[in-house]
Each structure stands twice: as structure tokens, then as C-alpha cells.
């Protein structure tokens, strides 16, 4: 089977625009949460979220003008803007500039989203009601369709290979990277731009997740303390937004052009819970099977895993995942570190798995596990190191990232160092 490596990274997160800017703030223990500014949140139960820091582009702020010109921006919902920004960073970082038609046809795109253009749909529904169907924009549909991140990226860079988009709720980003790696393994492409993008911080988005009882509601006085995976006082997740994109490349292809190799995708596993639309089963067997399948693909045993980036959303499900991980690792749990970076950036839904896969790549590069913020009271009897409050410098040869989504859809990525 062809080997797949990571040769480019791009991200826009609530911590910063940019990979190194986000990563350094993550390791320093910063939080991207704060009061909602994107809309008037006075009518919804949750008044805080982890928003991207908009600005002039300096000091890690996100300046939309740097990534899409205003004329094009009017035709896209924000999730596409974030995806374009992260993809542009990743392509540039990889140095991959196909010069021939064949190279372009061997380069594909697989960027998903959990919900896509939720704001565009909500706003247009109101417009339709108030002004009638003749006022619906010709750009409404292409601004909201989930696969239009992949479409826009392919148009900007001329990538003519497989053009695809994953939609598996909060597992989207991980599934996109795993599926894109498979396309390379099978020979459908040599290079894939893969990841996820999401822009759910709108009144309808917050109201919808509030109705599911999924969001934290009780920490309006201190939003940065609200995302607290595994902590006894957690009360739901904090909504995030952004995008994470990686460039995946066939190993020999990357070597031949002298590309910088960050990491290798060693394994990818998937499973379905077949249990409930929003909750995992109490025993976490879906997540367990997803992790086991990924390790089997990688040809590794549970004891080989050094760092786990947990799904860990700061909901009741955190301890279910913890139970599945400890069962899988057995005695090896005591030597493993697991953290949830959602404690810092909130939950980016369809972008989460991709951003967290990038954090795993950087953990492998820098040999450091990011912290779990706000973890004051860990579950009793926990055997694994949850990296409470401070990053953990440690040897990391193999990293595993979990993503679990509504509908009972699970994905696990296993990655190893690029210099193996």
C-alpha cells in the first residue's frame, strides 16, 4: 500500500489565523473563548463562544481581505472563507505548485463541513418570507453548499483531481483526512488538500445546539472557564468556528520534490454506534472499535500510542470516551498522555477533527502534548495523564486523534513522525 505523508498545514482557529500562531497560543494555555460578538446573543441561553479574532491581519488576527477579495466574499458563507484561508496557507506551506496538466489532475480536494452555510440558509429564509422568491440571490445555493469549499479551492489552484466533501457532523474533519489518505493509497491521486471548515456561531446555530442541551450555558461571567473536558463541573461544550486543512501526499512523490514531511498518516479507523442520534452508548464501544480499527490499519498495538487528542467536548460523553480509551490501552494507559484541545478553542464541529489532527502533527514535531485547560477535578481513579492546565513535554512517536459525531459516526486517525 502506498504511504501517505503530511506536507502542508493551514488553519484559522479561535486562537489565531495561522498554524504557528494558533499552536504557540495553545501550548501557552490560552483560551479563544469570550462573549459572542458575531450576533446579538440576548435571546439565546448561551452568550459566549470561541470566535475567530478578526482584525487587520497583524498579530495573528484574521483579515478576510487577505484571503478572498470582497467581490468574491459576497458569494460565500463564512465557512467557505475560513476554508479558503486555511487551504491557501496549507498549499503555500507545502510548496506544491503543479506545473503540468497531469500534476493538476493528480491533485484533489476533500474539504467537508458539518452544517455548511447555516447563516446563508437562515438569512435567505427570512428574506424569502419578507420579500418573496424573486429576491433570493443566485449565489445563495453555491454560498451554502458544503462541497463548495472543495469547489472554490480547486478553482483557485487549478487542482483537477478528485473533488469531494465529507459530511459527518463532528467527525467530518477526521473522516475527510482519512478518506483523502485512502484515495492516495489507492492511486486516485498523489496529492490531496483535505480537512474541514465550519461557521456555526449564529443565532440559529446557538439556538439549535442549546435545544439539544449540548452547549455550556452557566459560565457567562467567565467564558474562558466554560470548556472544561472531564472536569466535574463541566456543563456542555463551547461553540467554536474555523478551518483546518492539511496537504496529504504520497510518500515517494513528496520525497522526489524534496518536500518538508511533517508526519505520516499511519492508520484510519471508522465505526458507527447504531445507538442514538446525539448520544454515544454508555460503554463507548463505538469509539473503542474506531480506535481499534485505526491501530490495526497502522499495524500498531495500543501500547504504542504516546499522545491522544481526545474528542473530549466538555459534555457528559467525555467520561465515556475516557472509559473506552482506558479499556483499549489497559496497563499502558499509565504511560500515555491524553488531552482535549477543545478546552482552548471550543468545538469547531466539522473542522474540529482536522484542526485536532494538525495539533497531533505538531505534537509529533515538537514533542509536546497540549494542555487540557480548566481541568480542576478529574474523574476519580483516572489512570491516564490528562495534561491538566499545562502542556506536557514528552516523547511522542505515535499520536491518535478521535472524532465522534451526532448520528453515532466515529473516526480515528493515527499518525507518526515524519522522520520515521
Amino acid at each position: 500500500m502506498r504511504r501517505v505523508v503530511v506536507t502542508g498545514l493551514g488553519m484559522v482557529t479561535p486562537l489565531a489565523c495561522g498554524v504557528e500562531e494558533s499552536w504557540s497560543r495553545l501550548i501557552a494555555g490560552q483560551s479563544g473563548a469570550g462573549p459572542i460578538t458575531r450576533f446579538d446573543a440576548s435571546r439565546v441561553a448561551t452568550t459566549y463562544a470561541a470566535e475567530i479574532p478578526f482584525g487587520d491581519g497583524a498579530d495573528g488576527t484574521f483579515n478576510p481581505d487577505d484571503w478572498m477579495d470582497p467581490k468574491e466574499r459576497r458569494k460565500v458563507d463564512d465557512f467557505i472563507l475560513y476554508g479558503m484561508a486555511a487551504a491557501t496557507q496549507a498549499v503555500k506551506d507545502s510548496g506544491w505548485e503543479p506545473k503540468t496538466d497531469e500534476d493538476r489532475e493528480r491533485t484533489g480536494v476533500m474539504i467537508g463541513s458539518g452544517i455548511g452555510g447555516l447563516s446563508a440558509i437562515a438569512d435567505t429564509a427570512v428574506l424569502l418570507q419578507e420579500k418573496g422568491p424573486r429576491r433570493v440571490s443566485p449565489f445563495f445555493i453555491p454560498s451554502a453548499l458544503i462541497n463548495l469549499v472543495s469547489g472554490q479551492v480547486s478553482i483557485r489552484f487549478g487542482f483537477k483531481g478528485p473533488n469531494h466533501a465529507v459530511v459527518t457532523a463532528c467527525s467530518t474533519g477526521a473522516h475527510a483526512i482519512g478518506d483523502a489518505a485512502r484515495l492516495i493509497q489507492w492511486g486516485d491521486a498523489d496529492v490531496m488538500v483535505a480537512g474541514g471548515a465550519e461557521s456555526p456561531i449564529s443565532e440559529i446555530g446557538i439556538a439549535g445546539f442549546n435545544a439539544c442541551k449540548a452547549l455550556s450555558t452557566k459560565r457567562g461571567n467567565d467564558p474562558q472557564s466554560a470548556s472544561r473536558p472531564w472536569d466535574a463541573d463541566r456543563d456542555g461544550f463551547v461553540m467554536g468556528e474555523g478551518a483546518g486543512i492539511v496537504i496529504l501526499e504520497e510518500y515517494e512523490h513528496a520525497r522526489a520534490r524534496g518536500a518538508k514531511i511533517y508526519a505520516e498518516v499511519l492508520g484510519y479507523g471508522m465505526s458507527g454506534d447504531a445507538y442514538h442520534i446525539t448520544a454515544p452508548s454508555e460503554d463507548g464501544e463505538g469509539g473503542y472499535r474506531s480506535m481499534a480499527a485505526a491501530l490495526k490499519r497502522a499495524g500498531l498495538s495500543p501500547a504504542d500510542v504516546d499522545y491522544i487528542n481526545a474528542h473530549g467536548t466538555s459534555t457528559m460523553a467525555d467520561t465515556i470516551e475516557l472509559g473506552a480509551v482506558e479499556r483499549l490501552l489497559g496497563a499502558a494507559a499509565a504511560a500515555t498522555t491524553m488531552s482535549s484541545t477543545k478546552s482552548s478553542i471550543g468545538h469547531l464541529l466539522g473542522a474540529a477533527g482536522a484542526v485536532e489532527a494538525i495539533f497531533c502533527v505538531l505534537a509529533l514535531r515538537d514533542q509536546v502534548a497540549p494542555p487540557t485547560l480548566n481541568l480542576d477535578t478529574p474523574p476519580e481513579g483516572v489512570r491516564i495523564d490528562l495534561a491538566p492546565k499545562a502542556a506536557r513535554q514528552r516523547e511522542i512517536a505515535v499520536a491518535l486523534s478521535n472524532s465522534f459525531g451526532f448520528g453515532g459516526t466515529n473516526a480515528t486517525l493515527v499518525m507518526g513522525r515524519g522522520d520515521r
Binding site: 470582497p70 467581490k71 459576497r74 458569494k75 424573486r134 429576491r135 440571490s137 443566485p138 449565489f139 453555491p142
Partner: protein, 77 residues
Amino acid sequence: MSDIADRVKKIVVEHLGVEEDKVIESASFIDDLGADSLDTVELVMAFEEEFGIEIPDDAAETIQTFGDAVKFIQEAA
């Protein structure tokens, strides 16, 4: 230039992101100003909104240039 022409030009500049001096009477939205078919649909909607008129689809198809648009709106408004 008439008030109508100024208002039409403003819409064209805003929607197509073109320089004002490119928007001359004979300028074709598609051939000269970089619009695609979706842009022209949106432009017509913007004209309808700005001038409180209705431009039927068959009439919209005859509006190819800036001059066409101004002429149509002057007659309709």
C-alpha cells in the same frame, strides 16, 4: 450624467468590483466587466431593488451593457 446612470454605475462597481471609469455606455457586463451569468442575475435583482421596478426575465436577457441597463430603467422607472 443622469441620476439614474449614477445609481446604476454605483451598483455595477459594487457588485462586479470594477473601476468606475471602465463602466462606460458600451461596456458589456460579461465581455468587458468580468461578470458571469450568475453575476448578471444578481445585478438585475439589484436594479429592481434600487429602482422599485420589476424586470421580467425576457427583458433581463436584453440588458447586456451598462447603456442597456440605464436605458431600460429610464423607460421603466
